[in-house]
């Protein structure tokens, strides 16, 4: 059953990276708003992580599907679809020229995403712990069993 633990560790890492990416974008936007950063830097930094984030999320979602974690898959599906829609409409990147007009909406969107990932984070931690414990218990039981032989 060790692969299940490894899988959840992978989910955990992916989730952490998604959270980090979102946090980074939010920080950039906040800096922009507070005039600590100019729009050129800010949007180029954000735009640099948008595509990777989408890819990671795609992998994340796909892994749930492939490994048969239906519930988690369905949970992550909306964002996948939304991202795909943004991409197909070419609206996934921040527009430097109009960044101040859309800044509130962009921030809100990222904060919602962040909240969602944090929720997933909790779920994943729980599942991870459960898996680890199960694994240990299994080992223990085996151990006990082995030991019991004696």
């Amino acid at each position: 059953m060790a692969w299940e633990v490894i899988l959840w560790v992978i989910f955990f890492i992916l989730n952490i990276s998604l959270i980090a990416a979102n946090l980074y974008q939010i920080v950039c936007l906040t800096d922009l708003e507070a005039d600590y950063m100019n729009p050129y830097d800010s949007s180029s930094r954000i735009n640099a992580v948008v595509i990777p984030e989408m890819l990671i999320h795609g992998v994340f979602c796909g892994l749930f599907l492939v490994t048969g974690h239906w519930f988690m898959f369905i949970l992550t599906l909306p964002i996948t679809i939304y991202s795909a829609m943004l991409y197909s409409k070419r609206r996934h990147l921040i527009d430097v020229t109009e960044v101040f007009r859309s800044i509130d909406a962009e921030k809100k969107y990222r904060i919602v995403k962040l909240a969602f990932y944090l929720l997933l984070f909790v779920l994943i931690i729980i599942r991870l712990v459960i898996e680890v414990v199960n694994n240990l218990i299994d080992d223990d039981e085996e151990g006990v069993h082995l030991f019991g032989i004696f």
């Binding site: 005039d35 100019n38 729009p39 050129y40 070419r90 990147l93 527009d95 020229t97 101040f100």
Partner: protein, 1111 residues
């Protein structure tokens, strides 16, 4: 009365004799008359005309007038009566009243109000005889004690500008200082010009206590009080005097039968004679605006509904009735109205298109604002959509129109009003420590001049030693006259090195020129080269000016213009001819000789000239049809990114090679009306937005000149101009035979007008208010900082603000626009415009002080922006909805107190909102759908409108239509004759008489329309035989001066109209009546009041709005 009059007399004593003398007559009169309500206005106006009779009456009425006064707003000539009536009650008693008939009383107020207008210039100069009587009468009146008490305050005199500095009270027995002063002052100084009074209106604080609410507005007149009431009475009785009053209503013609008119008016207006207290509360603080009055009178004929049985129906219309004051608490109508339908319920019948308000006087700027805060910057720099700032969020939400400002930081100032330049060489620029506000006329110095309080954030700042000056007794600095920054709303500071991130750049002009076959064929290349060459001497910033060129077709051509220095001159073959380098690798652009492509104009002048001379011939055989625009743009960017500057792009072929390739789009009819429609109006390729952002970052402004006769995707190209503070010039189907003059003029203006380089602009405002959005051609560098690589006088920016707090506690909100820029001479400067606006708690006041021009400008920009994300129809509906909501809110405000019935009511200040809204919907940028405007033209119009200053915007929306044949044939060539004969006509087809010649002028082009029945002689004199015989299409715009008087006159008219607005060249199109489709395209489509192509006509639009308002 008698008693009171005497009082008056007293007051006047000193001044009277002299003043009254003919010249002064107004003054005295005014004082006497004005005291009462009318106060300020009246005083100013009343010229001697009224004198004798007036004097007595007025004086007595004084008090009453006061009440009426509020009503006086200049605008309401007609309606005043009602309001006034009431006041009389109180005062009347005093007055002997014999003079007035009972009816008269009510009328009285109007008279007073009216009186002001009445004093038409003509009136003023009363015959000497007249005057004397006046004075005498005044004199006669004994200076009774009563005077002092009530009316005095009202002194109107003060209102006048001239008056403002009252001399110490001379004679007045009682303490009516203000009053007296006025008298004295008035009399001695020459009589104020008629026009002046209007201006004079500004409220005067001096107003006595008696009429608290009004006071601000009217200058109190000490003597007036009692007299006032009497005045009213007086008026009626004395026909001579009275006459002036009536005339006001009518529009200044004096009417002999004064007494009668009043009563009649009253009937018309709901005024109530009974009004107890004359002074309506609202007036408070509100100074009547003389200026408005004038326009008003003119309109009157047009709008008003005729008062029932009123003697002067026409006038009434617009009229908002002055507040009756005490009366029923607002019986007076404070709005304008339009009666729709003779009988309730049948709208369609009764709307007489003749009475619709039309902005035939062009832009009418609100003057109350300037009057209240004389130290504000001029309205050409900053206009607020309403100069009464709401004090609460709830008020904001009820004010349905945009709340914001339109700023034109570098507007051209007329001779003598240039913005003063201040150099704080030693002290550094004085600014608030906390909010960074620049020192301005509204800061207050305290602590003996050692501290100053910031007017925006109220922080107490220390005054630096170098800037210190003692305060005089009134708390003003003694050296005020040496500091324009403390007396003028607009100043320019010379910025020290702290305000530079790099040394000020030299003016730099870079040209990116399309030399593909269409550019050559159309003749664009030649005209452009000639124009640039002719402007070389006039480029600003000599001798630092830099210049450079790139041309492109399917390859990119660079030109080395470096003139070799003298040393090498003889050794090398000196460069007197430019060296051309061709780069054909479009994928990976590189710039050969990066240092020699941009040269100093004065050093390389011969090379540049040689280049421009040879440019047309160099490519005259070019047959290349491709355009590597994107790569060329990148190359230009690489060359310019060191310095920034202005990039002028001449483009006539759709970009087809390399990055930034564009494709034909917009010819798909099916897209219109769907959700994808807006995509046609935004750049297709993100490359353009990215380039625009990069250009802005490196201080490059891009101006696009597009010439193609086919689709060139202005939507994409214009983006470059939009985000770099540039401008789009579009010459569809350019042909040198036709458009030469236009291109030459506009390019020359672009090159030679005063330009501010590498600028940033910020607008600050008081606590509790925050600017939330900005609209125009620029890019935001931070939340409130506009990056403007190049700014000039033809660019305006709009912004909206919101309240941050639910309730504003301050009384005044200050706005400060600061533009930091590099002048062409290489000096870094900060231009600062400061304005104050009062905070109000009353929605009615907000509407009263609304500025239609600014509102329309902002609405237009919002609608155009909306059209970039939604359908055109949505954008149009949004405009309509805004107007409907605003009028609905306004109706709610008044429907309860007034029986507005079936009338459409609107604030006087917004009477043109509907027509401008309609023309916005019909403007090129927003009209119709696929077939109504070419996509490119639509986009170009959109970009242009986003940058237009208010006045030009209004001109574009409601162009002028002038009939000129009469002038051509009959009038002598005298100054003023043209204005007298050629009046602007309503934009309806009925205005066009088939026997006439008309000029249609929207600021961008002229259309000269020849009627079908025009006398052949006339036509032959003006136009070539053959073309006048058949059609004009061949000689579309070739209206050349010919050897005869008529033609010279016509050309003179056109020249004169062009001089009025130099920012664009108005190309002249000749159209003959019935010549389709040109007539429709050039003229009929632009008659905004007519029903054209599925859009409503004006009357229908009004009815539609009215219905929605009532729902």
């Amino acid at each position: 009365m008698g008693t009171e009059n005497p009082n008056r007399v007293n007051t006047y004593p000193g001044p009277i004799p002299t003043p009254f003398a003919a010249p002064r007559s107004n003054m005295p009169i005014s004082s006497s008359s004005s005291h009462p309500v009318v106060g300020s206005e009246a005083s100013a106006f009343r010229p001697t005309s009224v004198p004798a009779t007036l004097t007595t009456p007025f004086s007595s009425p004084g008090p009453t007038v006061g009440s009426g006064t509020p009503g006086f707003r200049p605008m309401q000539p007609g309606r005043p009566t009602p309001s006034y009536g009431p006041p009389t009650t109180g005062p009347t008693q005093r007055f002997p009243t014999p003079q007035f008939p009972s009816a008269a009383q009510p009328s009285m107020p109007p008279t007073s109000g009216v009186g002001q207008p009445i004093f038409p210039p003509t009136m003023r100069p009363p015959p000497p005889g007249h005057v004397p009587p006046m004075s005498t009468s005044l004199n006669r009146q004994p200076p009774p004690a009563p005077m002092g008490s009530p009316p005095q305050s009202l002194y109107s005199v003060s209102s006048r500008p001239n008056m403002q500095q009252p001399t110490p009270p001379t004679g007045p027995p009682s303490s009516l200082p203000g009053y007296i002063q006025s008298n004295t002052v008035t009399s001695p100084p020459p009589p104020p010009p008629p026009g002046s009074h209007q201006g004079g209106y500004t409220p005067q604080p001096t107003a006595s206590s008696s009429f608290p609410s009004h006071q601000g507005v009217y200058t109190p007149q000490p003597t007036a009080s009692s007299p006032f009431s009497s005045n009213q009475g007086g008026y009626t009785p004395q026909p001579a005097t009275s006459s002036p009053f009536p005339s006001n209503h009518g529009g200044y013609t004096p009417q002999p039968a004064t007494s009668s008119p009043f009563p009649s008016n009253q009937g018309g207006y709901t005024p109530q004679p009974t009004a107890s207290s004359p002074f309506p509360s609202h007036q408070g603080g509100y100074a009547p605006q003389p200026t408005t009055a004038a326009p008003f009178s003119s309109h009157q004929g047009a709008y008003g509904q005729p008062p029932p049985g009123a003697s002067q129906p026409g006038m009434y219309v617009g009229g908002s009735a002055p507040p009756t004051g005490a009366m029923a608490g607002g019986l007076v109508e404070d709005f304008s109205s339009l009666s729709l339908g003779s009988t309730p319920g049948s709208f369609d019948v009764g709307l007489d298109s003749k009475v619709l308000p039309r902005p035939l006087d062009g832009d009418v700027e609100p003057t109350a604002f300037a009057g209240m805060y004389p130290m504000n910057c001029d309205s050409r720099f900053l206009r607020l959509t309403t100069s009464a700032i709401p004090n609460s969020q709830s008020l904001v939400s009820r004010w349905q129109l945009p709340l914001g400002a339109v700023v034109c930081p570098l507007a051209e100032a007329p001779e003598g009003e240039e913005v003063p330049i201040v150099n704080f060489a030693t002290t550094g620029i004085v600014r608030c420590r906390r909010c960074r506000t620049y020192v301005n006329p509204y800061v207050t110095f305290t602590d003996g001049g050692r501290k100053w309080r910031c007017n925006i954030c109220a922080l107490l700042n220390d005054v630096q030693n170098d800037y210190f000056a003692h305060l005089d007794a009134t708390g003003k600095r003694v050296d005020l006259d040496q500091h324009p920054e403390l007396t003028k709303g607009s100043v320019e500071f010379v910025a020290p090195a702290e305000y530079m991130v790099r040394p000020p750049m030299p003016p730099l002009y870079f040209f990116l020129i399309d030399v593909s076959i269409s550019a050559v064929k159309s003749g664009m290349l030649e005209v452009m080269a000639q124009t640039i060459k002719s402007c070389l001497d006039k480029l600003p910033g000599s001798p630092r000016t830099q210049i450079g060129f790139i041309t492109f077709d399917s390859t990119i051509h660079f030109y080395n213009m470096k003139a070799t220095s003298l040393l090498f001159f003889f050794f090398q073959s000196s460069l007197t001819q430019p060296q051309m380098m061709v780069v054909s690798d479009l994928e990976d652009i590189f710039v050969p000789l990066p240092d020699d492509l941009l040269v100093n104009l004065s050093d390389s002048r011969p090379v540049v000239e040689a280049f421009l001379d040879s440019l047309p011939s160099m490519f005259q055989d070019n047959v290349n049809v491709e355009s590597a625009f994107g790569p060329a743009l990148k190359a230009a960017f690489m060359v310019m990114s060191q310095l920034g500057g202005k990039l002028l792009i001449f483009q006539s072929t759709l970009p087809s090679l390399g990055v930034g390739r564009l494709r034909l789009r917009g010819d798909d009819l099916r897209v219109y009306g769907t959700d994808k429609e807006h995509a046609l109006r935004i750049p297709e390729d993100p490359f353009y937005k990215q380039m625009a952002a990069d250009f802005t970052k490196f201080q490059v402004a891009v101006n696009i000149y597009a010439f193609s006769d086919k689709y060139t995707d202005i939507a994409s190209l214009g983006t470059l101009a939009k985000y770099t503070g540039g401008q789009v010039y579009y010459y569809p189907s350019f042909h040198s035979a036709i458009h030469t003059e236009k291109l030459r003029h506009e390019l020359a203006r672009d090159l030679t007008r005063e330009t501010a380089w590498e600028a940033v602009m910020r607008i600050r405002c008081g606590k509790g208010v925050r600017f939330t959005s900005y609209h125009g051609n620029f890019m935001l560098r931070s939340t409130d900082l506009l990056a403007l690589p190049a700014v000039d006088c033809d660019k305006a920016y709009a912004m909206q603000f919101a309240l941050e707090e639910t309730l504003l506690t301050t009384q005044i909100v200050y706005f400060q626009v600061a533009l930091l820029y590099t002048a062409s001479c290489g000096e870094r400067r900060i231009r600062v415009h400061t304005a104050a606006a009062s905070v109000v708690a009353d929605l009615g006041e907000m509407y009263r002080q609304a500025d239609t021009g600014a509102i329309v400008s902002l609405l237009g920009r919002l609608a155009i922006e909306k059209s970039l994300t939604y359908k055109l129809e949505d954008a149009r509906n949004a405009i309509q909805l805004r107007i409907v909501k605003a009028l609905k809110e306004y109706r709610k405000l008044h429907a309860v107190q007034h029986r507005v019935g079936n009338r459409m009511i609107y604030p006087e200040s917004l009477k043109y909102l509907s027509i401008y809204g309609l023309s916005l919907c019909k403007s090129t940028a927003l009209r119709g759908g696929y077939a109504d405007a070419q996509l490119d033209e639509r986009c170009a119009a959109g970009f242009t409108m986003m940058a237009l200053p208010v006045k030009k915007m209004l001109k574009l929306l409601y162009p002028s239509l002038l009939r000129v044949d009469e002038y051509l044939v009959k009038a002598p060539r005298v100054d003023g004759e043209f204005e007298r004969i050629c009046k602007r006509l309503p934009l309806v087809a009925e205005s066009l008489d088939s026997r006439g010649i008309y000029i249609f002028d929207d600021g961008f082009r002229f259309v000269v329309w020849f009627g079908r029945m025009l006398s052949p002689d006339l036509a032959r004199n003006l136009v070539d035989e053959d073309s006048s015989a058949s059609d004009f299409s061949k000689s579309q715009v070739c209206l050349n001066e010919r050897e005869n008087e008529l033609s010279r006159k016509l050309m003179g008219i056109l020249k004169r109209l062009r001089e009025g607005d130099a920012s664009y060249y108005q190309l002249c199109h000749l159209v003959r009546q019935g010549e389709q489709p040109r007539e429709g395209f050039f003229l009929l489509l632009n008659l905004v009041e007519d029903q054209v192509g599925g859009m409503n006509g004006y009357a229908d639009w009004i009815i539609q709005i009215h219905r929605q308002v009532q729902q």
